[in-house]
Every structure is written in C-alpha cells, then in structure tokens.
C-alpha cells in the first residue's frame, strides 16, 4: 500500500487529523481544567486557561499523597515483574524442552489460568491472603500478581522457546555447565525479545490494576496510584480543578514512559498475543 502522496492522501490526512482532534477532546478538557481556578471553570469551562494557574497541582499532590503512592506502585510493579520473568521463563523452559505427557499436562494446566476469570477465586483468595497475614502488605500484592499473571507469562515464554533451536543448551551442558548456569548464561539472553514483551504487558497491567489493590491495600497506607486516585476523586468530587490536576499528575508518569518507549510498548502490545 506504499503509494505516493496524492490529493486523495491529503484528504485522508485531513480526516484522520480531525478524528484525532475529536479523540483528544476529553484530554484537552481535563488538562485545561487542571490549570484553571474555580472562577474560570465556572465562567469559561472549555476555553484555554487565562491566566494559567498551577495551584491545583500542589494541592492535589498533597491531598492524594501521590508521592508515596508512586513509590508503592513502583515497588509492587517492579518486584512482581521481576518475579514473573524469573519464575515464568524457568517454568516455560522446562515445559518447552521436556517432552513428556506430564509436562504437556502441566502446560495445559497453566493455559487454563488464562481463561479462568479471577472473580471465581476472588473471595477464597482474599480469605487466604488474610489468613497468611498478608493483607495490606507489599508481599501480598506481589504474590497475587505473580500468581495471576503467570499463566500468560508462561504461555508467551513457552511459545518463544519452542521456536529456538535446542543446540545451544546442549553445547553449554557439554562444556560442564549446570542446568541453571546454562539457562542463565545461554538461554535467558536469547529470550530478550519475549522478555521485553512480558515486561511491558505485565508492568502496564500491574501498574494500572485497581480492584485487588483496593481490596488488599485499602486503608493500609501502602495504596497504589489508582487506589489513591479513586479515594481522592470521591472525596473532592465537586472540586473539578483539583480532581483534574490529580488525574493529570497520576497519569503523567506512565504516559511519559510510554512516550519515551512508544515503539517498544506498541510492539509489545501488538505482538504479545501471537506468541
């Protein structure tokens, strides 16, 4: 479809840009709102802020305790993703390389986890986490995300490892390496492309997840960004400028990461499901 730039292409360009402008309208409304004082919001809800005021941002940052929320989110996301990469790649390597009926059954067992909605086990799991004394802790959340995202992670890694030739490990083992050494120094570096996909998909999911952290972390002081924002918005519901500033601040970190790594993120999302 790579054709020259013709008048028709120009018309298409105009149409697509118009669609993008309409698409961005909610974002425009929110961002301008965040920069306005209450008087401007009442008198000119959609016009650009004049003069722009940044007061709401400081207040929102304080009231929603966004600083500590960002730290909590970062800690939980990074730890969970690391655990997923280590446990997932090891298990997938085993599942992909050992051809026995038992290992195949185990692979199917992991796949079941992809279609099992977490709502089914939600309440017993809540009880279990409570019984283990892990409610309101980072460890509880990390354990939860590792378990819930493992099926998908194992699925991605297994598909990728199956497409690799087995000779590499062979050579390493012959050189006297242990299985773990061979995996760490030979196999794992070869998994880089799929590790990137696993990292991106899991990190975005865990960073943005809302329901389980609300349930497990609510009131603990270790709430993640979405949970804090939920409480914040419900508390200041009618103070539009403040709510808007809070939302802009809370969405900013992941949007910045996305803009910096856009190519990898988009590739991760579009390739992930094809294994």
């Amino acid at each position: 479809m790579r054709m020259a730039y013709r008048p028709r292409t120009f018309v298409l360009e105009l149409v697509m840009v118009a669609v993008a402008v309409a698409f961005l309208f909610p974002v425009y409304a929110l961002v301008t709102l965040a920069f306005k004082d209450p008087g401007q919001i009442a008198n000119a809800p959609l016009s650009p802020p004049n003069p722009p005021s940044v007061d709401s941002f400081g207040t929102a940052w304080q009231s929603a305790s966004l600083g500590s929320a960002l730290l909590n989110s970062t800690l939980i996301t990074v730890s969970s993703v690391l655990a997923l990469i280590v446990l997932g790649s090891l298990a997938a390597y085993f599942l992909a390389r050992r051809a026995s009926r038992l290992s195949y059954s185990l692979y199917i067992l992991f796949l079941v986890g992809i279609i099992l909605p977490f709502q089914l086990g939600m309440i017993p799991l809540y009880q279990l986490v409570n019984d283990l004394g892990l409610l309101g802790t980072y460890q509880g959340m990390i354990l939860f995300y590792t378990g819930i995202q493992l099926p998908f992670t194992v699925f991605l890694y297994t598909g990728f490892i199956r497409s690799l030739p087995a000779d590499y490990t062979h050579a390493a083992l012959i050189d006297g390496a242990s299985h773990l050494q061979a995996f760490r120094h030979v196999i794992f570096p070869l998994l880089r492309p799929i590790t990137g996909t696993v990292l991106i998909l899991n990190a975005v999911h865990i960073w943005n997840d809302f329901f389980t952290p609300l349930l497990y972390l609510g009131g603990s002081g270790r709430e993640t960004v979405p949970v804090r924002i939920f409480a914040f918005v419900n508390e200041y519901t009618s103070d539009y400028g403040l709510v808007a500033a809070g939302l802009v601040l809370a969405a900013l970190p992941i949007l910045v990461v996305f803009l910096v790594l856009q190519r990898y993120v988009i590739r991760g999302f579009s390739s992930g499901l094809k294994g």
Binding site: A99, I123, L173
Partner: protein
C-alpha cells in the same frame, strides 16, 4: 545429533540414564517449574476450586460455617432481577464493545497504514489511553459526561450549536450503558488498532500491486486480499475485547457504581456487591461461576477457531 556428542558429561549421563530427553535437547530438571507451579496453584487454582465449590453452599464469607445447599444459589439467580439485569447488561456491553471498538480500531489502522505524514504521531495518540489506568480514564469521562449544561461534552455541544443534544449522559438509565461502553471503546480502540496494524503489515504489498494491475479497486482489494489475511488479527481482537467486556468492572464502579438503579450493573459488579456489601459469599461465587462459564466458553470457541485457521493457512 548424538553422533556429535563425544564424551557425555555428568549431567548428560544422568539425563540419559533416566531416558528423559526433550525435543532434541537435554531436558531441564523438574525444579525449574516447581516455584511457578506452587505460586500459580496457591493464587489461582486453589482459590478457584474453593470458589467453584462454595457456589453450592450458603457461605457468608465469615468463618468456616457453611452448608451444602445444592443448586439453591442458581435457582435464586434465575429469579433475581438484579442478577438477570446484570447478565443482560454484561452481554449488551460486550456486543457493543466488540463491534464498535474493533470496527473503529480497523478503520484507524487502515487510516494510519498509509502514506499520510502524521501516521506515526496518530498511532501514538490513538494508543496512548491504553496505557492509562481505567480508573483514571473513567474519571476523565465522568467529567466529560457531566450533566451540567456548561461542562464537558454538553458544553462542547453548546459551543458548536448542538445545544439541543445535551444529555444527562450517566444519569439517564437508557443512555448510561452506552456512555460506559463508549468510555471503554475510547480507551481500547487503539489496542485493536495496533493489532490490526500488525496484521496489515503482514500483507505482502505485491498482492496489492498485482491486483491493481488487474484493475481491482480499493474496496475489491480490501475484500479479497486484506480482509482474509487479517483473520488472525480479527480473532485476537474479538477474543480480547469479548473477555474484557464480559469481565467489565472498574469502569462501572468508577463511573456509575451500577446505577442509575441497576441500569449499568454487570456480573462483576453484582458479584462484588453480593460478596462485600451483602456478605452473601456463596451466592456471589455462584454468579462468578456463571461468569467463568461464559468466559471459558467464548475462549474455547475462539481458540478452536484460531487454531483451525492457523492449520488451514
């Protein structure tokens, strides 16, 4: 391959003795899979089995006391107007999201898979909402749907002379479900778009060139070349958005909490309320089991379809 292996070292011999050889390589030991299996069993398998079991009990969620009540929870379910309404809403939302999100995603993908100069920027713009938390997107749209005539979408309609179209977007029971659906569509259309784009990039340009030489127009080329080759992308997109639609929760809780009345309750919000608001855990897991059966059925059909297409291709 064994011919090239001269003196087998210890690890190889150990494996050889046990006769466990992987596909052409030496099989890794079991302990590679054990940690993952333990965590998976603890977090997903065990709770899901307990959950499925308690759907047949009157468990209140507090303590261990529960007795077997057979199908009573399911009988209650088919007479429960709120649960049935939630089932209808869930199916409605799922169909609306699957059709509109993927239709829009396909149009966007076709639009940016061209020589227009803004194509890279547009991809980033349309995809950006995908990485933002659904809670925040929901609150953003909650403001857009503000019922006041001089805020959000109503203000924009007024500004372009369409003031007569102003609505109480989330407060009107027959409109609210569409408003919720549209929020999801706005956030996820870019996801569909990038999956379609990956599919479009796999279409060999020579096919289009030779079809053009043969005089095929844009529509004919789309129908006979692009569309059949997009089938895997269509399947993935439909599968993702179906499961997403069936389990819709966050957006409802953040925007309407199921209201007005029960107009936007879904299976997920009902099972949540039954468990954590009314303390009826047994009944709640019965609703969850119904949801699980729906999700599993859809996934099975779609995975089967995807596999048959892949083997046919």
């Amino acid at each position: 391959m064994t011919a090239t292996v001269a003196p087998p070292p210890e690890s190889v011999r150990r494996n050889a003795v046990r006769g466990k050889k992987g596909r052409g390589g030496i099989a890794p030991p079991w302990f590679f899979a054990v940690p993952a299996l333990l965590v998976y069993a603890l977090v997903m398998l065990y709770p899901s089995i307990v959950g499925a079991g308690s759907a047949f009990t009157d468990w209140s969620g507090v303590g261990e006391q529960r007795s077997f009540v057979g199908l009573a929870n399911f009988k209650q379910l088919i007479h429960d107007d709120q649960a049935l309404g939630a089932l209808r809403n869930t199916l409605f939302l799922t169909v609306a999201i699957v059709v509109v999100q993927n239709g829009l995603g396909l149009l966007l993908a076709l639009g940016v898979h061209t020589t227009i100069k803004s194509r890279m920027l547009l991809r980033v713009i349309f995809f950006a909402p995908v990485v933002v938390s659904p809670v925040m997107v929901s609150f953003l749209w909650k403001y857009v749907y503000n019922p006041a005539p001089d805020a959000g979408l109503n203000a924009a309609l007024g500004a372009v002379g369409l003031g007569s179209l102003r609505q109480d977007w989330l407060g009107n029971p027959s409109l609210a479900i569409w408003s919720v659906a549209f929020t999801v569509i706005w956030q996820c259309a870019g996801y569909s778009m990038v999956i379609f784009l990956a599919g479009l990039e796999g279409v060999p340009p020579e096919l289009h060139e030779s079809a053009m030489v043969d005089g095929a127009g844009t529509v004919a080329r789309f129908r006979h070349i692009t569309w059949p080759l997009l089938a895997p992308a269509v399947t993935i997109n439909v599968m993702l958005s179906t499961v997403g639609g069936l389990t819709l929760f966050t957006q409802i809780i953040a925007m309407t909490n199921g209201g007005p009345g029960y107009a936007t309750d879904t299976l997920s919000t009902v099972l949540y309320k039954q468990a954590f608001v009314f303390g009826k855990f047994g009944y709640s897991t019965a609703v969850a089991l119904v949801l699980a059966v729906f999700v599993a059925a859809v996934s099975f059909i779609q995975i089967g379809y995807l596999r048959s297409r892949e083997t046919a291709a």
